[in-house]
């Protein structure tokens, strides 16, 4: 369906990534945001808190990030598209209820404007070291979806995708942006409302009495009932059956957790999204995401000028990971080079999928600033030897 025009600030703007992210959420139909202040993400909710009262949205500043995450799950069960925004330390505090959102299959979006860690780390400077936490930071087995924008424009764009994916798959979707994209100001074009396609909540057609909240369809996704529509359903963070009732057995655990994971894993080919450039005939392929994809441009140019054929895979959806694609590409190239602002996270996935068929090289950076493009260029040149 087309989005509600009241949240769409159509036109050309000069926005930083945080504000663009907030605009993306509003354009996607988000009408409930709960958050707690944390640098460098706060501008997202500042933008939203100023605009929400004019479009029927509610923003509440909660007492902490645990509460923020719990509140957006509650709001999502009313059918209201809901989101929270944070950075590293707050992301850690949200983990328990991210698990609840996964277990209850609650559509919601969590934005993490990544900064340097661990712990309080570098509050005002860039990092990309929460990528693995995004995937598995809460306890137990589950799968989520994560996207990573490289620019303010893309911060706007991926917010629409994030809300849509959360509705289709009924999972928490993470937007893993970073301090650089968040605080970088660039042109952002916001389309007309009629050009923004959004996915509505998949409400059940069944009458009350015939509806059970966790009966999955062929895509392994259950239909939804809102609180207050007369279904009187039960949802729990405990291992549950199709009725949403707790069942403490290995059999029910097997069924419940398998579906939570498989609804993403088996649909991964439909979810993965990346940009490719000059892959055919490449010697070295750079696998990159977020702000590092921008910085790497200069490194790629340097290497190309020295005669290396460099291809690029830029991940837009990071989780699920494009496993098949990396695996099939691996035997055709000399090396994958993975620059990231951490000490090796996504590189582990590349290495796993390459499965020894080619070299995988990490270009680490501990954060605080972006890579020196020379370092990326040198890694490419070295790998191409």
């Amino acid at each position: 369906m087309k989005t509600d025009p009241s949240g769409v600030l159509t036109g050309q703007h000069y926005l930083d990534g945080d504000h663009a992210c907030g605009e993306g959420a509003m354009a996607a139909g988000c009408r409930f945001v709960a958050g707690y202040p944390i640098t460098p993400s706060t501008e997202v909710v500042e933008r939203i808190s100023r605009r929400f009262p004019m479009m029927g949205g509610t923003f509440i500043q909660m007492e902490d990030e645990m509460a923020s995450m719990a509140a957006i799950i509650g709001a999502s069960w009313t059918g209201t598209k809901s989101m929270t925004v944070t950075s590293g330390p707050g992301f850690s505090l949200m983990m328990e209820n991210i698990g609840l959102a996964a277990m209850m299959e609650t559509p919601c979006v969590i934005v993490n404007v990544q900064r340097g860690g661990p712990s309080t780390g570098l509050p005002t400077n860039v990092g990309q070291a929460d990528m693995m936490q995004a995937r598995w930071g809460s306890h137990g087995d589950y799968e989520i979806i994560a996207l990573s924008p490289q620019s303010p424009q893309e911060a706007f764009d991926v917010m629409i995708d994030a809300f849509n994916l959360s509705e289709i798959y009924r999972v928490p979707v993470m937007v893993m942006t970073d301090e650089c994209v968040g605080h970088m100001t660039e042109k952002v074009v916001i389309p007309k409302a009629e050009d923004i396609e959004i996915v509505p909540r998949k409400l059940t057609d069944k009458p009350p009495g015939e509806f059970w909240p966790y009966v999955a369809d062929r895509n392994m996704i259950p239909e939804f009932a809102r609180a207050g529509d007369g279904y009187r359903f039960h949802s729990t963070g405990l291992t549950h059956n199709e009725r949403g009732y707790p069942v403490m057995s290995a059999e029910c655990q097997q069924e419940c957790v398998t579906r939570l994971v498989d609804k993403i894993r088996l649909n991964a080919e439909d979810i993965v999204r990346f940009e490719e450039e000059d892959i055919d005939g490449a010697d070295v392929v750079l696998v990159t995401y977020g702000i590092t994809a921008r910085v790497a441009r200069r490194g790629i140019d340097i290497a190309r000028n020295k005669g290396v054929k460099v291809g690029v895979i830029r991940l837009i959806v990071v989780w699920p990971f494009p496993e098949r694609h990396i695996r099939e590409l691996a035997p055709k190239i000399k090396a994958f080079v993975v620059p990231e602002i951490n000490y090796g996270q996504i590189v582990l996935e590349v290495e796993r999928c390459a499965a020894g068929q080619t070299l995988t090289v990490l270009v680490p950076h501990m954060g605080g600033t972006v890579h020196d493009p020379e370092d990326i260029a040198n890694a490419i040149l070295e790998a191409a030897k």
Partner: protein, 326 residues
């Protein structure tokens, strides 16, 4: 079960609270002589006598013995994470303001791990009813010390007796801004039910503390007998003092328990404050989130989600508009 009982035609013998319970989940997990079931019964009675639309009632629990209540009530029910029932309820209430949201949980859940949410929801005067069953102990995990355990009482983690000072919950709630504060024991069935009815009819952060026996752990660890002995203790030691100063409501070990309604006042709720403020600040530009929720509906004729037939979708819209008429 005896043969005589099996022969009774059960369809004619439905328990009066059965319509409020998920009978397909009974028997429940609570111990014999636990007080929680009694509190559930009183709440169900209060709902019945309040004549409210049960389709618009949602219940949220955290974790623990009382945390299981949501799972047994035939309402829109959420069994959430430990301590987070109140923030979950915050989203539920603000996401669909027409709902009557009840948080039903225990002392460890609401004022131990969830204490920060409790005080902030009271401060905001969030429009929810909070029912806290206080059994003085962490029951589900085996009798550990709680923020409500009376000083000197034994728990599994204070084997030589508790040396901490417990919360005085009515005082905590009032000082943070609750508009309705009452305390009863699970012996006070009639008064507790009346209190629930009153609280349901009020607005704002309403708090009812119910002292309830935990025979399996609290009574056993403290050699207090059975749940029956605790009920007799309530009978002999509960003092009804409506309007008492909440500063005087501390509970000492095996000492008198002051019960009653202590606070019943009006104060603008979070949503009322927000609406009034935005109307003043923004005038006609202010658009509140709709009472029936902030879900954005498909106004086009062709829904796009997988496998959805247009005819059915229209039926859905029809039923939704009916519910919003109210």
């Amino acid at each position: 079960m005896s043969k005589v009982a099996e022969q009774i035609p059960t369809e004619e013998m439905e328990h009066p609270v059965a319509p409020y319970l998920r009978m397909d989940r009974i028997p429940h997990i609570w111990c014999p002589t636990c007080g929680i079931g009694t509190v559930v019964r009183c709440y169900a009675d209060a709902l019945e006598h309040s004549k409210i639309d049960l389709d618009k009632v949602a219940i949220v629990s955290g974790i623990g013995c009382t945390g299981r209540v949501a799972g047994y009530m035939r309402l829109d029910a959420f069994h959430t994470t430990h301590g987070r029932a109140i923030p979950f309820a915050t989203g539920l209430k603000l996401g669909r303001p027409e709902l009557l949201v009840t948080v039903f949980s225990g002392d460890g859940d609401l004022v131990g791990i969830g204490g920060n949410h409790f005080i902030h929801a009271a401060r905001r005067n969030l429009d929810i009813l909070v029912i806290l069953v206080n059994n003085f102990i962490y029951g589900m995990t085996g009798g550990q010390n709680a923020p409500t355990t009376p000083t000197t009482a034994r728990t599994s983690t204070m084997p030589f007796g508790n040396f901490e000072r417990p919360f005085n919950l009515p005082h905590l709630a009032e000082s943070c801004g609750a508009t309705y504060v009452a305390r009863w024991t699970s012996l006070h069935i009639r008064r507790l039910t009346k209190s629930f009815r009153e609280a349901i009819s009020r607005k704002g952060f309403r708090f009812v503390e119910v002292i309830a026996p935990c025979a399996t752990l609290y009574a056993r660890l403290n050699k207090l007998g059975t749940g029956f002995n605790l009920m007799r203790f309530y009978h002999d030691n509960a003092v009804i003092d409506h309007g008492a100063d909440t500063r005087d409501l501390d509970i000492s070990f095996q000492d008198r328990i002051i019960c009653g309604k202590f606070v019943d006042k009006e104060r603008p709720t979070y949503s009322e404050m927000m609406h009034e403020h935005y109307r003043n600040a923004l005038g006609d530009k202010f658009v509140p989130l709709p009472e029936e929720g902030g879900m954005i509906r498909d106004t086009g004729e062709k829904p796009d989600s997988k496998g959805k037939k247009p005819a059915k979708s229209q039926k859905r819209k029809a039923s939704a508009s009916k519910s919003s008429r109210k």
